[in-house]
Symmetry: C2
């Protein structure tokens, strides 16, 4: 008997994640097992349509998702629960020995991706491939959503352009959807080019730069702003960033300068979290420069996203860094990437691939395993072709092997993923850079062989 606990904290270990699955994956798998239907099959993960307000996606989440796949096992507690809810012993015996043994190809993290393009392709025994569906979608959909949003914010802040460097910090943990989300948002933000994160656990786990300042409650905890600033600089003489808007902003900046002088600390930065950020930052810069603190950074925060950041940058505001929380972590203006995981081919008894397509109203699927080819012109995106796997096509193939025979064969460093994202963003033509027009379009063709198979 399982012992449910309605207040359980909900943390799962690698084995428990095997049940992070829609029930139907398991019922379908049980039926396939019963019918002996376990020949190789191919599933592809893709979006049918781009989300509203998005003209491209930045693929993300593959690395951690494949680790979860490679560690996926059904332990005793999981098997006992499945027995309890009616699964038969034969199938439970199959699950007891489960481990994914197939192939996974994917667009590496930081790749640009468009509608209709598989961003991940699973080839393996049908039951195994079926059992990965929920976990892969759960991880790749939301991480691709977040990396895309982060990339838009980074672009707006001038990231990727020479001389601009990294200007965006992930401040999102308080608005992310739980613990796993907070970890992965920080990671996706880093892949997309952000400078660091306020999330200490993610900084530790992923080797990111932990960044932070102070809250208003800190300033309110002392009798005067000056006392608060002095105390903070005593504790952090080389990296104090002081929040100057608890009372009046210009006075807050003067007080920060005074506190730095008194304590002999280097004032690393000041943060402004309210008011008219442009004029406040301008005034703060004047005051800091007058005080000779030309190296002191100005950080702004408060419901920032790519449109507002773009306006601030265009205004010439003297802002060094943008702390972005809610909008980055939740992709508030477009909070869903609707990726699906569809059977596109299965092997007949002779081992020949048979393309599978679905005919439901408005939900057609192109049959057969696919590859995506991308052409560039003068370093800019020029057009993609979705082709049949193995079909000779001009351009760079985007899906590359990540797992073979159930083993991970490709893992990338953070530097590689960040470099790819940077190159991806630089390759965007002007009409695909935010704020892009609503009718911005990028040509994705279907290859002749694929078209003829419909």
């Amino acid at each position: 008997m399982s012992h449910p606990d309605p207040n359980d904290p909900g943390l799962l270990d690698a084995t428990e994640v095997s049940l992070l699955s829609d029930l139907y994956e398991l019922t379908m798998a049980a039926s396939y097992h019963r019918e002996g239907l376990d020949r190789p099959a191919v599933f592809e993960l893709f979006v049918r349509h781009l989300p509203p307000h998005r003209s491209w996606l930045l693929a993300a989440g593959i690395g951690p998702a494949l680790r979860l796949v490679s560690e996926m096992r059904f332990g005793k507690a999981e098997l006992a629960y499945l027995r309890e809810i009616g699964f038969e012993q034969d199938f439970l015996d199959y699950l007891a020995d489960f481990r994914f043994s197939g192939e996974i190809a994917a667009m590496p993290e930081g790749s640009l991706c468009f509608a209709g393009e598989p961003l991940l392709r699973v080839t393996g025994p049908r039951i195994e491939a079926q059992l990965l569906e929920t976990l892969l979608l759960n991880q790749v959909n939301f991480q691709t959503m977040v990396a895309t949003k982060a990339a838009r914010v980074v672009l707006a802040a001038g990231g990727g352009e020479p001389g601009h460097g990294d200007r965006v910090i992930d401040f999102s943990p308080r608005r992310d959807h739980g613990i796993d989300a907070a970890m992965k948002v920080a990671r996706c933000a880093a892949i997309a080019g952000c400078a660091g994160t306020s999330n200490v656990a993610a900084a530790q786990r992923y080797g990111l730069t932990a960044m932070g300042t102070m809250a208003h409650s800190y300033v309110l905890s002392f009798r005067a702003e000056l006392e608060a600033f002095r105390a903070f600089l005593r504790a952090f003489p080389d990296r104090g960033i002081l929040l100057v808007d608890t009372y009046e902003i210009a006075q807050g900046v003067r007080t920060a300068i005074e506190a730095a002088r008194e304590t002999g600390a280097a004032l690393r930065g000041i943060r402004i979290d309210s008011g008219d950020l442009e004029s406040c930052a301008r005034r703060a810069r004047e005051l800091l420069d007058e005080a000779g603190m030309t190296e002191t950074e100005i950080i702004v925060s408060g419901d920032l996203e790519e449109v507002r950041i773009g306006e601030l940058v265009a205004s010439g505001a003297r802002i060094d860094r943008f702390g972005v929380g809610t909008d980055l972590g939740t992709s508030r203006d477009s909070p869903v990437v609707n990726g699906v995981y569809k059977l596109v081919a299965d092997a007949d008894p002779d081992g020949e691939w048979r393309g599978v397509r679905k005919l439901s109203a408005e939900k057609e699927t192109l049959p057969g395993p696919k590859q995506v080819f991308r052409r560039f012109s003068d370093g800019e995106l020029a057009g993609d072709v979705v082709a049949a796997e193995g079909e000779a096509t001009e351009g760079e193939p985007l899906l590359v092997p990540f797992m073979e025979g159930g083993e991970i064969v490709r893992e990338e460093t953070m530097e590689q993923m960040r470099a790819r994202s940077g190159a991806s963003l630089r390759s965007l033509p002007e009409h695909l850079r935010p704020p892009e027009p609503a009718d911005s379009n990028y040509p994705v063709e279907i290859s002749p062989r694929l078209r003829s198979s419909i």
Copy 2:
């Protein structure tokens, strides 16, 4: 030295969750520690404004969040990392012995909550209370968002009304923001009144009903729809729910009837995932009734949310259950609950509370510990008063003790939380029931004593 891994699956255990914190919580705490500033303080978690398209919130996430708080410890690896990024040994020694020793009061899960009302209040030594901020916001913000959305969907489906029962199933794991989100969405959906979830891990952990049907890929894996349906009913003769829209829907229903007759299975239900759900459900009901299968349920799915479900219910469509995924799990039309965690009082050296307020532009905070009182009229919500803690006020006090001296003193069963949600939703006056007018408003007053303290 920490050993970061850019592809780590990101799973945290209870100890590792201690670093799921914005860096500034730790830097502020380190400074408080250095200054000996650790007298009791009160922090309150509340929203300043309701999110767009919401006229109330359903509080959720308290139970699991408080378990995480009660288990919060800094282990060796966490301390080593904090040392690495520059924290001093004195503070690390403090963290090594950390455990929360204070009080937490909260609105129990399933309570209705409005702007300006503390839904959770933490009283304890300042450093301890500060260190809970990120985790509490990370958990309570998104779970309250999801429970609110789920409650809206349940209301639209007629949940809570006599004779309607539970008609909504959580189908969201593939669109939820990661693993923790999927677990907590299923739990919040259950609290809000949903009938079950497709998420097997959440069903196991929280004692929910696991529900599922089949995917289009299952039907496409057989040479004919009839073969697929037969195979599924052979495996699940007492609980087969067949997806009938892979090819043509009316024919799919006929085929499902035929498969059930041939195999002698009870056809528990059919699912329709595309097309005009109202007319398709009507036709399906006719065909099933003609075949004598009056008990067979009709389940619909496909980008459903409260508006569409309300229309379907109003149309008199013969639908038994609604599978709701994306919109339930992401609260797509209003994907953020902007809860904040603010210092409202601290003890002076004599142990007297001193109200703390913040004056930043448009971000004022009312000083002092508070209580929320609610009045009813004929079972309907009649008005709330936010009062000073201890101020005699008419109505039912909503914040109740959950932790005392660091120990959890209140935990509720799923039945209690569901019952409270049901009562909450029944108490909503007509103008607060979705689809409510944009200017719907519920009176929340500030008590005389609290007003005089501003």
